[in-house]
């Protein structure tokens, strides 16, 4: 459980360019924060910064009042990050891929049943024994999202999670997010198109903001 996640006056610099500056946000349990903005406005950078992969050049990120930079490992083990890359090994089957990540992520034993349930939830039961190599982009994305179901972690960072998902897949994701929020979880997602999640806070990134 995370009680609060607060970004204060965050500035992100990649190389010599400032991607965004003076950004504030705060998330409490049950919140969904949607990050919007044109290509290159720093949506992915903001999510990687919130994960703790990137350090802000200015400002601070606090989880439950503690600076994330002070204990990066504790922060990393409380969140899910689903980015553009699906982190799947083509030679392994869907079950093997998900089992590997579940066992890596959890100190408790994860039963084969809960792996099967997570695959079923994402509509992948029929493909569970197929090498991931044969899956389509959308199916691979579903398998990446199955990590969210298999392992419970309070903070979800989703970078364009609906990319290459079909309508049914997007609907499942919306349901998952709703369940996660009602259980006191937090979601931060960068999206372009629609993600029909109700009651969200929006962070708008983009050039027009940095000019003002």
């Amino acid at each position: 459980m995370i009680l609060s996640l607060i970004g204060n006056n965050l500035t992100c610099t990649r190389g010599d360019t400032t991607v965004f500056s003076a950004l504030d946000f705060s998330v409490v349990p049950g919140d969904a924060l949607i990050v919007r903005g044109p290509n290159g406005s720093g949506k992915s950078s903001l999510l990687r910064l919130t994960a703790g992969f990137l350090t802000p050049t200015e400002g601070e990120l606090r989880r439950d009042g503690v600076l994330v930079a002070e204990e990066p490992e504790r922060h990393l083990t409380r969140l899910h990050y689903v980015g553009h890359l699906d982190a799947l090994k083509p030679a392994f089957t869907a079950t093997e891929n998900l089992t590997f990540w579940s066992h890596s992520f959890s100190s408790k034993a994860i039963s084969a049943d809960s792996i099967a349930q997570a695959l079923d939830r994402m509509g992948l039961s029929a493909l569970s024994d197929l090498p991931t190599h044969y899956l389509s982009a959308g199916q691979r994305r579903r398998l990446a999202l199955a990590r969210l179901v298999a392992i419970s972690r309070p903070l979800w960072l989703l970078d364009e999670p609906t990319a290459s998902l079909d309508d049914a897949g997007s609907e499942t994701l919306v349901e998952l997010i709703a369940e996660h929020r009602s259980g006191g979880g937090m979601v931060m997602a960068a999206v372009h198109g629609g993600l029909a999640v109700p009651d969200v806070t929006t962070v708008q990134l983009g050039r027009q903001d940095s000019g003002t």
Partner: protein
């Protein structure tokens, strides 16, 4: 299965299942060594003289061959991000990957090296030293090489840069690896050289995973 063991088994299975790394490394090793009798000529005295060096240099190059993909595959498919989210410290992830790398490349090289010794007419009393030197030396090749692999992980075609970084660091392992076999051949006893190899391994074992984890963290940005 603990996460540490799980990473080892995953990497070893990948190395064998794709028919990739292991097969490639072993075939490269055998081919390179067999080129020498063809190039130098079949005089057994000369081959016997150069055998320890040839086997070790070929083993170094073969180990190099598989290193550039060690972390790059995980970097490119996003697995590195996910490994950073796991409770297992990145240092132990690095150590597990080095062990897996040794099991899937160093160990096969070790097993096949006596056969190549026969091919090069290596003297009977040198095989014990050859096996011992390879057994103690090849884990250091994986550990030291992995530092280079981690530093070049974000660079496209980092393989050449990796060789330039790592090959100079392999020189001590080469010198004492060959030295052990030469010493056994002239009857001086190989233990002094083996102890130095063991010392290198003892230093690399705790230090390399730490350096690798540092390099990998930089590449998460």
């Amino acid at each position: 299965m603990t996460p540490f063991v799980q990473i080892i088994t995953r990497d070893v299975r990948l190395a064998f299942r794709q028919g990739g790394a292991t097969m490639l490394v072993v075939v490269f090793f055998v081919l390179t060594v067999t080129l020498f009798p063809l190039g130098v000529g079949p005089e057994s005295a000369i081959l016997q003289r150069i055998a320890p060096g040839v086997i070790w240099v070929a083993a170094l190059l073969a180990a190099m061959l598989s290193l550039d993909r060690l972390f790059q595959v995980d970097f490119e498919d996003g697995s590195l991000d996910q490994l950073a989210l796991a409770p297992l410290p990145l240092e132990l992830v690095a150590a597990a990957k080095c062990i897996a790398h040794w099991l899937s490349t160093g160990l096969p090289l070790l097993v096949i090296s006596p056969l190549l010794g026969v091919l090069l007419n290596l003297n009977g009393e040198a095989y014990g030293a050859l096996l011992m030197a390879m057994a103690i030396g090849t884990p250091s090749l994986s550990l030291v090489g992995a530092i280079g692999a981690a530093l070049t992980v974000g660079i496209r075609r980092g393989g050449v840069l990796l060789s330039l970084l790592v090959l100079p660091l392999y020189i001590p392992i080469l010198i004492f690896g060959v030295g052990a076999i030469d010493a056994a051949l002239v009857g001086l006893g190989e233990s002094a050289h083996l102890f130095v190899l063991a010392a290198i391994l003892a230093a690399a074992l705790p230090l390399a995973p730490w350096a690798i984890a540092g390099a990998l963290r930089l590449n998460l940005e």
